[in-house]
Amino acid sequence: MKILVCLKQVPEKDSRYKIDDLATWIREDDLVFETNESDVYALEEALRLKEKLGGEVGVLSLGEERALKTIKSGLAMGADRAFHLSDPAFQGSDAFVVATAIARAISGQNFDIIFTGVQSEDMAFAQTGTILAQLLGWPHATIVMEVNVSEGGKKARVKRELESNLFEVVEISLPAVLTIQSGINQPRYATLKGIMQAKKKEIRRFSAQDLGLESSQLGKTGSMVDHQKMFFPEKKKKTVILEGTPEEAARTLMERLRKEAKVL
């Protein structure tokens, strides 16, 4: 079984953001980056399948130099090799451009399954995997909570999460793209041995030119949707912010909940 896992590097979850002067992106200077949460679950699922069925796991990330941290942590967790799609021309690309670049980079690699996370925590379009499946002409399943490969690797039975606590079990033929939901497993931590071994693993680098992509197919120009500007949302409700030390704020809160809101 040859499995590819797409990893996206995103700002740490509790980051505080500033919007840049052009209002098209955030200011990255003070941010720390990590691997997108559901992508980590996807990688763990791939590693478990490899341990059960044999084969190899590749990881792929599209992003600037800093994405190497995400790639290396994927290799340290146990992936065998990596693809790094990196080019300034990728900046501002939407999911369609990203999926196109991934499809090009893995052409001829004969992967049986491609895993992605359900959605990224930064842009949250939740569609790179599905678009990739369409571009490759493969079936897909989204919001996957369980994967079982059957018929000697020809098919997969997957459990999908639907709304209101409903689940669906579907059988699709491989190769396929599966988007993995957080919580499907408990991801492992990289071991020291894993970190050491990762240093020797192959990272193949691709520029836009290597993938045969022209500037008209990239970035904002090549995108299917037009990301115009970012802004902070207005608050929907008037929130009373309780000031002071933690002690004072806690006291005021209890007081208000009892005397003003009358809920205690």
């Binding site: 979850k13 509790d14 953001y17 919007i19 955030i26 999911a95 369609f96 925590e121 949250a124 379009f125 939740a126 569609q127 599905t130 499946a133 369409q134 571009l135 079936p139 399943a141 039975r157 999460e161 709304e163 606590n165 409903l166 689940f167 669906e168 079990v169 579907v170 059988e171 699709i172 033929s173 957080s182 919580g183 408990q186 995108s223 299917m224 949707v225 037009d226 990301h227 115009q228 970012m230 902070f232 949302p233 608050k235 929907k236 409700k237 929130t239 009373v240 912010i241 309780l242 933690p246 002690e247 806690a250 006291r251 809160l253 209890m254 208000r256 909940l257 809101a261 809920v263 205690l264």
Partner: protein
């Protein structure tokens, strides 16, 4: 801007989903503003009565795609059908609710037609000839304005609760047009083996009067004990956001949000929960909401009545002591 807006309405167990009524409501307002015709699209097996009901309730024409194979949803069948509908009807906008189903098929459909899909929109601005949508990014901390690009149709899904459903009492008789689109064998390969409801957990939070909920900000299973302690001191139930149950700090049955329980207690105290929309939809109708979070821009504050911007590990121990005093 002449033309047409289509709204795909989802249904389960013979009822249109509330999120689809919201999409229809928004579609009607938009179509009015743009001077466009609106049609609602329904896919399924025995949907004749449902289609008439929709047409009566919104006063618009309903297109039905009736097919035995569509009793159960599959992305292949939906994409096959809807791409033909889009080609025949040539809409300007193709709207839908942002559901688990939309996430599954809409990107495939848009790509197949060489178009883009703008998911999970919370706002829309129309000036003169320009329509732009607003959606949340960075876990709800920032909004992104997205414009339409290239040629129509433009595929857009709307976030649950972001737009109002609205109904007209139409005196016209219902208008239902059935389109026949046969499904070729190659789109029928997927086998849906089973759809089932997960077993109900022992924890029913829907009746709780007070809920103390903790999120990722608690950091670990050990530190989550603070939430349990405050809940005990107040005689409250314990809730959690998804990362907590995913991480195994608490059983799944305590999860509140779109993939967990929906709650409306008289007091909801959210600790270390940033407030991703998936969580907010499960608790935003609580009577009194308190948010404790170190990030003043956390979206949880947008639904909170009272907020403390600060460290949960400093605030919670004080609250626990005060709660114990009150109970004495």
């Amino acid at each position: 801007m002449p033309g047409k807006t289509l709204v795909l309405a989802e249904h389960r167990a013979g009822k249109i989903k509330s999120i689809s009524w919201e999409a229809i409501g928004f579609g009607q307002k938009l179509a009015e503003r743009l001077n466009q015709e609106l049609k609602v699209v329904l896919i399924g097996k025995a949907i004749g009565d449902l289609a008439e009901e929709v047409s009566r309730r919104c006063g618009q024409e309903v297109l039905t795609l009736v097919n035995d194979h569509c009793e159960t949803y599959t992305p292949e069948a939906y994409c096959h059908i809807l791409s033909q509908v889009a080609q025949q009807e040539t809409p300007f906008l193709f709207l839908m609710g942002h559901t688990y189903q939309a996430i599954d098929f809409a990107p495939k459909l848009a790509t197949r037609l060489g178009r883009g899909f703008i998911p999970n929109c919370v706002g829309c601005q129309i000036d003169a000839d320009r329509v732009v949508f607003v959606r949340q990014v960075f876990n709800g901390k920032i909004n992104l304005q997205v414009g339409l690009k290239g040629e129509p149709p433009y595929f857009v899904s709307l976030q649950q609760g972001a737009f109002n459903a609205y109904e007209v009492q139409s005196r016209q008789s219902p208008r239902v047009v059935n389109l026949t689109i046969p499904l070729p064998d190659e789109v029928l390969k997927r086998k849906v083996l089973e759809i089932f409801q997960a077993a109900q957990g022992k924890v029913d939070l829907s009746q709780a009067e007070i809920i103390i909920a903790g999120g990722r900000g608690l950091g670990s299973k050990e530190k989550f004990q603070l939430i349990l302690d405050l809940a005990e001191a107040l005689g409250a139930a314990v809730g959690a956001s998804r990362p907590v149950t995913d991480g195994g700090w608490l059983p799944k049955e305590h999860q509140i949000g779109s993939s967990g329980q929906t709650v409306t207690p008289k007091l909801y105290i959210a600790c270390g929960i940033s407030g991703a929309i998936q969580h907010l939809v499960g608790m935003m109708n609580s009577s009194c909401i308190v948010a404790i979070n170190k990030d003043p821009n956390a979206p949880i504050f947008s639904v909170a009545d009272y907020g403390i911007v600060g460290d949960v590990f400093k605030v919670l121990p004080v609250l626990i002591e005060l709660a114990k005093e009150i109970r004495k």
